[in-house]
């Protein structure tokens, strides 16, 4: 290995291809016996490379298990967007649960299920708790002492409400068309008409009940 440039090319090629830190001993093994550089030469080459990559988006660094290339820490905000997931959409089941908690608080899971006609998954409750839109405000004094849920300040802030009484009254909610008309001027985006598969699923469950199917259709026709 007479050419320092070629030595560097091989070293950086190997370090980048490996995708993990490589110790100098392992780097030395890339070379056939008759062309193998001294470990000291490899170290010198690596150190020069550290200089050469100053100011680039990545750097050569010696860590515990060897040398590796790593992307500069200051680029984290941009790199992070590589893997940023598209925000998911909440299922209709979750939205219904949230609405029921908002309007009927304090309310237990059992009570929500009674109104919705389908069971409420623990996942939904957990998601709402994690988002800090709801919290447990007590336990109902019935067998099992189920938790009672209520909405939080964070919930109000998110929806830009001073207090719950700013939510439309129940009577208006019953008139779907009216809500649509009233809320449109607030510039609520069009996302809401998208229905997710999950939510459809919950509707299916409901419609399985024979009573529900017929009547619901009838009502919606009006």
């Amino acid at each position: 290995m007479d050419d320092l440039g070629q030595l560097k090319r091989i070293l950086e090629g190997a370090l980048l291809a490996a995708g993990e830190p490589l110790p100098i001993e392992r780097l030395a093994l890339l070379f056939a016996d008759n062309e193998r550089p001294q470990n000291a030469d490899i170290r010198t080459a690596l150190k020069e490379m550290v200089e050469e990559y100053q100011g680039r988006g990545f750097e050569l660094k010696e860590v515990a298990s060897g040398w590796r290339f790593q992307v500069c820490q200051d680029l984290a905000p941009w790199i992070g967007r590589l893997w940023e997931e598209k925000p998911a959409r909440y299922s209709r089941a979750l939205l219904e649960t949230l609405a029921l908690i908002a309007y009927r608080q304090p309310v237990t899971r059992g009570e929500i299920e009674e109104v919705r006609g389908v069971s409420v998954s623990s996942n939904i409750i957990r998601t709402l708790l994690e988002r800090e839109w709801i919290r447990v405000v007590g336990h109902r004094d019935v067998p099992g002492r189920p938790a009672m849920y209520a909405t939080t300040r964070i919930f109000l802030d998110y929806f830009n409400l001073k207090n719950l009484s700013e939510l439309p009254p129940l009577a208006e909610i019953r008139d779907l068309d009216k809500i649509n008309a009233e809320l449109n001027f607030e510039g609520v985006d069009s996302k809401s008409h998208e229905v997710e598969p999950e939510s459809e699923e919950s509707f299916d469950e409901v419609q399985d009940e024979p009573l529900a199917t017929g009547l619901e259709t009838e009502k919606e026709d009006r």
Binding site: L75, M148, L161
Partner: protein, 288 residues
């Protein structure tokens, strides 16, 4: 595995199709000149000895070295430095048959394609031997045409396969690189929800709920419900909370009424207990 035997070279310059094949199979001495099968005690052997035993496995390997009858034919043609367009059907057929015969002699079960090709060659050969009447057979064409077309067609893709194989390839000639990503704050974006979505969802629930008489939803004023939650959370984890501490003067008359209604509702729902130890004594509230 096919690469283990090199049969496709034209440099062997042998006349018989058999030597290359037998030579490769039983690894007899390869040689540059007139290609005997083997050298036995210094004497070249150019005929297969009657009693020569070739293990059937070896033949299988040979056959696998050819990608079918077209490949075998191409090999035979190339070995004679012939252009596909120049093929001499009777000669090629002869060689092909010889190959097939050896296979049969070795009791090797030939793939149907090889036999089919043998039949096709025989047919072409016989057609070429027929006397030709210049005008009549105009539309019949060269009996070899179809074979030549197929050979050419196969050869171009055989070549294409070699070309593809020699393209620089990932993990052989090229390596995708990667470097360690910087430490990232794991920020999973939360779904956005518009208030309208919640209301629409709620309206749907109500519609469904309306169908069940027994479940018909009676709603208190929302301010009361909210205050109920508020009171309950104030009572969390505490034994007794003074009744008056739940009222706040700043809220004015209306606030007091809402709080009071909320308490009534909570009592009605058996969520709180109100305790007064003596008449006109301080009232305390506790969550059940």
């Amino acid at each position: 595995m096919n690469d283990s035997i090199e049969l496709s070279g034209t440099d062997r310059g042998a006349d018989l199709p058999t030597e290359a094949l037998v030579g490769a199979a039983i690894v007899l001495q390869p040689s540059q000149q007139e290609m005997p099968f083997a050298i036995v005690e210094g004497q070249p052997v150019t005929q297969i000895p009657q009693d020569l035993y070739i293990p059937p496995d070896a033949l299988e390997i040979i056959l696998e070295a050819f990608e079918g009858p077209l490949d075998l034919l191409l090999y035979l043609i190339k070995r004679q430095n012939l252009d596909i367009l120049d093929i001499n059907v009777s000669r090629i057929t002869h060689q092909y048959m010889e190959y097939i015969e050896i296979m049969k002699a070795m009791q090797f079960e030939l793939a149907a394609e090889y036999l089919l090709m043998a039949a096709m060659l025989a047919e072409i050969k016989s057609r070429m031997l027929l006397p030709r009447h210049e005008n009549i057979e105009e539309d019949e064409g060269d009996p070899r045409a179809e074979l030549i077309r197929r050979l050419q067609e196969y050869e171009r893709y055989k070549q294409a396969a070699e070309d593809v194989d020699s393209l620089p390839r990932l993990n052989r000639d090229l390596y995708q690189v990667s470097a360690d990503a910087p430490k990232l704050e794991s920020s999973k974006p939360l779904p956005d929800v518009a208030l309208k979505e919640i209301l629409l969802a709620f309206a749907k629930v109500l519609k469904r709920a309306d169908m069940f008489e027994s479940h018909s939803v009676q709603m208190e004023k929302l301010s009361t419900r909210e205050r109920m939650s508020h009171i309950l959370s104030r009572l969390q984890g505490k034994q007794f909370v003074p009744f008056i501490s739940l009222f706040s003067v700043e809220e004015g008359r209306q606030g007091v009424v809402v709080t009071f209604l909320a308490m009534m509702e909570l009592i009605k729902e058996s969520l709180i207990d109100i305790v007064q130890n003596e008449i006109f004594g301080p009232i305390h509230i506790k969550a059940r």
